[in-house]
Amino acid sequence: MDIPRIPLGDWIESGLTWLTSEYSLVTRGISRFTQTGIDVLNDSLMWLPEWALLGLIALLCWKLAGPRLAIGAVAGLALIWNLGLWNPMIETLTLVVFATMVAVVIALPVGIAAALSNRLYRVIMPILDFMQTMPAFVYLIPAIPFFGIGSVSAIFATVIFSMPPAIRFTTLGIRQVPVELIEAADAYGATRGQKLFKVQLPLSLPTVMAGINQTIMLALSMVVIAAMIGADGLGSEVWRAIQRLRPGDGFEAGIAVVILAMLLDRLTQSLRKTRQ
């Protein structure tokens, strides 16, 4: 018996083509807006001399997490500078910061809504599973017809890939607020808004911050992969090293990614702890 093959791929492709042509105005608008944002952030970070930015980051680490992280930051960033990877590092940082901001801006309201409505929760959770388990590379392909080669496509794919933990943790954080505290707020006649802003959100903040930390880490890993569709930064250094078969260069860029990752992770974690 011959069962015809379901043309799933064809459907998705024609759907994407339709989306691209139909919404080209929208995607072009988003593209221009995003590109401007990235450029402004990137240029201002590049405008600062290396030592000044290094000092600023060290100071921030000192304030938020204490002297140990500050010393680590200085050592790590100095190494990156010395290896001549400063500019790619800034480009990567820009993409991560920008993608994280977009992801969080979308994730917070969605996470809150999913926490408060059971129906929405049941709709959103499988979508998140899909977003997280789909191999990250796959997002790169439709990004190109939407936004062309370059940073904007990288941001698009990164936002989709890194957003789920921020949504999940926000939902979890709000749902974890003890029933008796909700009851107390209700008993004193709190409106939904008062309950959300005075009780649920403040109490879920540590969990939300954990989610944002995860989002940043995922964004960093995706931004590196996004070098394949022309994103600048440390990823493109790695990509070039692969193409030229130069393991030394590849590891140098890789180590820079690790340093950046550790720095971002410790910083956001300390932010979470001071909030608690």
Binding site: E180, L181, E183, D186, A187, Y188, G189, K198, P202, L203
Partner: protein
């Protein structure tokens, strides 16, 4: 109790069914079925069935029942944290089960403060901010709510703890914050859901005494839930006894003790008249603190503060009782720069030997609120008896 007193909350024919098909359960109930049969037939739990009672203005009404009796459900129906299935709850002319959402919020803000069994304090807010919560919700201006909350914290003896966080406080102190939060709100009715059940017995007794003192000052209409007969007898003006979601008896502690409505109540209070053979010794408890004759007024005052009491017994080196120092007298002594507290002592308290029959102590409590001192033949202070402990002892005798 005077039946012509103004009614604050009128509850009539209140029922609550847990489950998706409440009407089925109500029908079966109307045919005379009880909770277990209804559960078996329909899968619906009849939480409360046809409850009717009044809460009078200014009284402390205790709703007492064992676990599963529906008492927690009942108190939550009053401010509609739980939706009712049928019946009326009327407060100042408003029927709570039929209020629209906005009117319900307004009603909760105006009429109800609530104290919870596990305190339910907001861990991210300071003691002060917790006490302000109800006022903040109602939109009271910042300076004003700060002052009101401060006053109510003072009232429950938590002055100086404003900036602490709940997790830095002991259980008893946490519940004081819970009480302060409720008092600051100045709602017309205070709901207390097993408010003292999570506290250890000594602290619980103190809190009961304090609640009674506050109550005598403020005359706030209070509905107090408990599973503890001692507590119910100790603090209630009237008691509503619940069993399996139904009212078994409503009455004053005396009525419950002397005229139990049925065997269930009788089993609760059995043997209470054995009080005649109980003595002061059985209800006595050791003093947590005393002052010595050599103590200055500041030391004595400090001890009182430490134990949140407003009078302290003073003994000499051989623990012989010299007198009682009241908090006002101690303050006066400090103002007048006195070194010794001896001139400020009062003898206006009761002392009894260990074998004094317990029922004689009842009369003494109506005169003065000081604990009764228990002494031996050499006038040595052995311990004290507080009002709660007497009823407690009677109730315990009843359980045996």
């Amino acid at each position: 109790m005077d039946e012509t007193r103004p009614v604050k909350i009128k509850v009539r024919g209140l029922s609550k069914v847990f489950g998706k098909h409440p009407q089925k359960a109500i029908e079966l109930r109307n045919q005379g079925m009880k909770r277990p049969e209804i559960l078996e037939k329909t899968g619906q739990t009849l939480g409360l069935s046809n409850i009717s009672f009044d809460v009078y203005e200014g009284e402390l009404l205790v709703i007492m029942g064992l676990s599963g009796s529906g008492k927690s459900t009942l108190i939550r129906c009053l401010n509609r944290l739980i939706e009712t299935t049928e019946g009326e709850i009327v407060i100042d002319g408003e029927n709570i089960p039929t209020l629209k959402e906005k009117a319900l919020l307004e009603c909760r803000r105006r009429h109800f403060s609530m104290v919870f069994q596990n305190f339910a304090l907001f861990p991210h807010r300071t003691v002060q901010q917790n006490a302000e919560f109800g006022l903040e919700i109602r939109g009271v201006e910042k300076a004003e709510r700060h002052k009101i909350a401060h006053d109510s914290l003072k009232q429950v003896g938590l002055e100086g703890w404003e900036d602490a966080y709940p997790n830095q406080l002991s259980g008893g102190m946490q519940q004081r914050v819970g009480l302060a939060r409720a008092l600051a709100n100045d709602a017309t009715v205070l709901l207390m859901d097993e408010a003292f059940s999570a506290l250890d017995p000594l602290i619980r007794k103190d809190m009961q005494q304090e609640l009674l003192q506050l109550q005598s000052k403020m005359q706030k209409t209070t509905v107090f839930i408990t599973h503890d007969l001692d507590e119910a007898l100790n603090i209630g003006d009237r008691i509503v006894l619940l069993k399996d979601g139904e009212v078994v008896q409503i009455g004053t502690p005396e009525e419950i003790l002397t005229k139990p409505a049925d065997d269930y109540v009788r089993r609760f209070i059995e043997g209470v008249d054995r009080s005649r053979i109980l003595t002061a010794e059985s209800a006595m408890r050791p003093l947590r603190t005393t002052a010595r004759e050599s103590d200055g007024p500041r030391t004595a005052l400090h001890r009182m503060r430490d134990h949140t009491i407003d009078s302290i017994y003073v003994v000499d080196r051989d623990r012989c009782l010299l007198g009682l120092l009241e908090v006002d007298a101690a303050s006066r002594a400090i103002e007048e720069g006195a070194d010794s507290i001896i001139p400020y002592l009062t003898q206006d308290f009761r002392k009894v030997p260990m074998d004094e029959p317990l029922h004689n102590l009842f009369a003494m409590f109506s005169e003065k609120s000081f604990p009764i001192a228990v002494i031996d033949k050499q006038e040595q202070l052995l311990g004290v008896v507080v009002k709660g402990a007497v009823l407690d002892e009677l109730a315990r005798a009843g359980e045996q």
